[in-house]
Symmetry: C2
Subunit: 569 residues, 2 copies
């Protein structure tokens, strides 16, 4: 490929809105460009990268016997309604209507539709296990797309779906995909770890995410210092020390005047007590408008994902003034005592005296005790934090790291098949629901995560197996007949040998060409220059190395092909 | 691939709604299945076919130097509005809004967006010519999806876009794509002819369609009996004999009473005159609500595509009662004389006496003469029909055939770049607008058109180069150890030789297996049976041949690989 004709121009400076190193480099190297916030085009260089990433994913899916297919982007509302996801997904999806008023969703994932097909194509237990997958565009109405391809409004996902006759079969399919994911990310140069994760809108109980730890990630991962416990904050729990029985001898609650003191911060300052001395009470509404109060220790934050799961809702919002009035509460002074609403109490709330809102203006209550002064359903609804005890070993402490989720796997079992009555004929002659899982990888996010973890101050450093080209041949200067002739002969020789070449035939200075080569980050730079040709030599330089090597012009093609063949696939 | 685990089950009977032979076979052979009207999933067998079709298209695009990229499915409204296509395309597209109210279209094509990218990536004339392309899902809100993949609401299109510095450059790019299309369709087994076509929503003047002539097509193509003139009915014209000057001596128009006679058919019956004796006057509104009357000879049908082009509108509808009142007309009795609206007169209206509506109830006018009794803008707005004289040679007559449009190419020039101010730095130092063309192929429609033109009463007969597999190995019966062992050894041997194999390992009768093999239509059937093995032989049968051949088991793998290698690519 001649660089003079490449559809994609490097930029000296990234646009101001670029937020992460990978985002800046992706724009500067013309890997992908936005059409609008969160909507990206792969330019030819980036297209080649994502095709290689796609091919690695495909090969590892095929290796475990998965069959490739393709479901559409637009999906009819009826099936989403059957499983309850039409409403649940409303806040984060795009919908459209045809001119007859029939509703469609720009697909979020395809569980409902693959079950529909399975009902038609899989009749008997003899046909299972089966895994099918496709690469297809997904829509997400992200309110804040960010950091280039890390969080977008449209992206291609590889989503695979397994169908088994029972839980044991599902576990095997899940393990097969787990293994495929480990190989897939390793092959594309990503150091991904698996972590326990929330099942979110997917249903079921067991799920893992594959996370690449990097500061640009927006997920937070709790990692045990002692054992192998790793969990997304949306799912992470902590070891609870036995609740102390300090409840004896706590005086009856008394009201204290706290004018204008409407937050834990304000209480902390005015009453000179630690945050843990207070109860934090949140009045919230779910997607259906049902109101609930959540009570937490004052030093803990509510975890929205856990709460959504507990409430089986797609969205949790703060309650409005009418909700406060109905609950007999006052904003800023809400507390659990006497509250007229469903009350959920985080497990972190201990059997001891707390200060809590009095449900009247400018007043709090002292010596509020759970069980005596209020009752509630015990839940786990708080964020863990660094230093919490590991819930698995009970010994190590948790550290919180940032990560990018590059893949996720869900064992949802019969969550969809029961709602859809999707059954097969089992070996005992009865009809049973499919037992399933789904397995996703976002292609674009994987590509940008590769950049985020493979760059230096000069530009991208592609792992060879996903690089847009193997070799970047620079002609210096291109208007020297001898240089151009020999460079073109080399390019042609390399291409015959299966080496993918970007050929910088632009009429630019050496400085510009070297800088662009470093920016684009093709693994091997090959310089054909007037000076080198005097010695019948070429300069080879690996992007990942600081040194270069002079090699004789004769045999250079074979030498380069050898280097390329030595790279991992 | 073991057929027992194939996600896709053959059907004895096609669902009743299947409309064409290809549609029926596509469903019966589990090539693709619908999720909803016009929304299809490629099942694994069909997926393999469409990937091969895609790869042929890709190779021919790459051969002419086109660069692959990928633009998103969701596209922001702003750019569509800039070119006027947001409104124009409204009737046939899907739109959505994000939760902030920002509008998007499920993309129809990508001219606007590729121009946006070109403005950023192509700065100078030195970087051209350039052609970029992608394969991407398109949405069409078809009111009547039909015949499986022939007319759908979502499909993957390969759309390519050329950028040149001038018209001469565009003509070269257009010719390169024209050649690529000829090779592409030939390679995938389609006998496509190029025809002149309407530019429709694409703008510009020059366009060709590639049509495969088949009775299941819904396009009508006018083909000259003498020269190479071939045009879509939406574009086709006819040679007009010189208008006779029979206008002299026509008496003044007179009113005749025609109670209850509201159509040409009724007039023909009651006045006993041929249809050509009447004028047909249509009162229509364009998308913007502007009203226009179109006058045609009574024996000609209006051509909506031509009219849309003339009116530069996306949609033409019949006028409503208020429009009739405003024009001073009466439905059923409308005529050009005294009509208070813009009047367009088809070129087929001759300078002679006609009978036309009188614009009052139950009355027509006799001896109505254009130029004397009414004036109008001359246009070409009528369908051609079989027997019309060819507009190119003036000698041959036109025949009308049905065809499926499998590709189209448009030379729109500066239609988009001028509206978008998309310019480059030309060699004279000034900024000039890009001169462009676009080039589309619908992948799914191509696949079904291959089926529509390659089948017999038993099933599909895939051209080898796009067949889902090369060989279909049948084990008969599979529960015979010797048969199964030898069949599996053969499959393994073939796969090592690069032969793609579907292996029918199902516990089914010979009758079922042979019928399914004929239905699915893989080019080479290989039968490993107990009977044949007694003679250490296999049976080979080409799907396209009636005879079979016995070959020795030893060396069968190489023999089959040879056959496969001999096929076109």
């Amino acid at each position: 490929m001649k660089q003079s004709k490449l559809f994609g121009r490097t930029l000296r400076e990234a646009p101001a809105e670029a937020q992460t190193p990978g985002h800046r480099l992706m724009l500067r190297a013309a890997i992908a460009k936005p059409l609008a916030a969160g909507l990206y085009t792969w330019l030819p260089l980036g297209f080649r990268v994502q095709k290689k990433v796609e091919q690695i994913i495909r090969e590892e899916q095929d290796r475990i016997g998965a069959q490739e297919m393709e479901m559409p982007v637009l999906t009819p509302a009826e099936l989403w309604k059957q499983t309850g996801r039409w409403d649940m997904l409303e806040p984060i999806t795009f919908r459209t209507k045809d001119h007859n008023g029939r509703e469609f969703m720009v697909s979020y994932t395809h569980e409902e539709f693959v079950h529909l097909h399975a009902m038609q194509e899989i009749q008997s237990y003899k046909q299972m296990p089966q895994i099918v997958y496709h690469f297809q565009s997904k829509g997400r109405d992200e309110t804040r797309p960010r950091a280039g391809l890390l969080r977008v409004r449209e992206f291609v996902m590889k989503d695979a779906y397994s169908f088994d006759v029972d839980q044991a079969g599902l576990e095997k399919s899940y393990a097969a995909e787990y293994g495929a994911y480990e190989r897939t990310f390793k092959r594309m140069g990503l150091d991904a770890i698996s972590v326990e994760s929330d099942t979110g809108a997917m249903g079921g109980d067991v799920a893992h995410e594959f996370q690449v730890l990097t500061d640009v990630g927006e997920d937070r991962i709790a990692i045990c210092s002692n054992c192998d416990y790793r969990a997304n904050m949306e799912k992470a729990t902590r070891h609870m020390a036995g609740r102390s029985a300090r409840a004896d001898g706590i005086p009856a609650r008394t009201e204290i005047s706290t004018p204008g003191t409407q937050s834990i911060d304000a209480l902390e300052a005015s009453l000179r007590q630690p945050r843990s001395a207070f109860l934090k009470t949140l009045l919230l509404r779910d997607q259906a408008g049902k109101v609930v109060a959540v009570v937490l220790p004052g030093d803990r934050d509510v975890n929205e994902a856990k709460l959504r799961k507990i409430l089986a809702t797609g969205e949790v919002k703060f309650a409005n003034d009418a909700d406060f009035a109905a609950a007999g509460a006052v904003p800023g002074y809400i507390g659990p005592v006497g509250l007229k609403t469903r009350l959920l109490v985080d497990q972190g709330v201990e059997d001891r005296a707390y200060i809590a809102g009095a449900n009247k203006k400018d007043a709090h209550l002292r010596d509020v005790l759970i069980g005596r002064d209020f009752q509630g359903e015990r839940i786990d609804a708080a964020d863990v934090r660094a230093g919490d005890l590991c819930p698995k070993c009970g010994v190590g402490t948790l550290a919180i790291k940032r990560g990018v989720e590059v893949g996720n796997i869900f064992a949802y079992g019969t969550y969809y098949s029961e709602k859809m009555n999707a059954t097969f004929l089992s070996d005992d002659g009865t009809r049973k629901p499919f037992v399933g899982g789904s397995y996703g990888i976002g292609v674009g996010r994987a590509v940008q995560t590769i950049i985020e973890t493979h760059y230096d101050d000069k530009g991208i450093m592609w792992p060879p197996q996903v690089a847009p080209y193997h070799a970047h041949v620079l002609a210096l200067p291109v208007n020297d007949d001898d240089v151009r002739t020999k460079a073109e002969a080399l390019v042609s020789d390399l291409e015959k040998r299966g080496v993918e070449v970007l050929y910088d035939d632009r009429d630019e200075s050496a400085g510009v060409k070297f800088a662009d080569a470093d920016l684009i980050g093709i693994p091997l730079r090959v310089t054909v220059s007037k000076r080198n040709l005097k010695e019948d030599a070429l300069e080879l330089k690996l992007r990942s190395a600081s040194d270069s090597e002079m090699v004789p012009l004769a045999g250079a093609g074979e030498r380069i092909a050898e280097i390329v063949r030595s790279w991992p696939r």
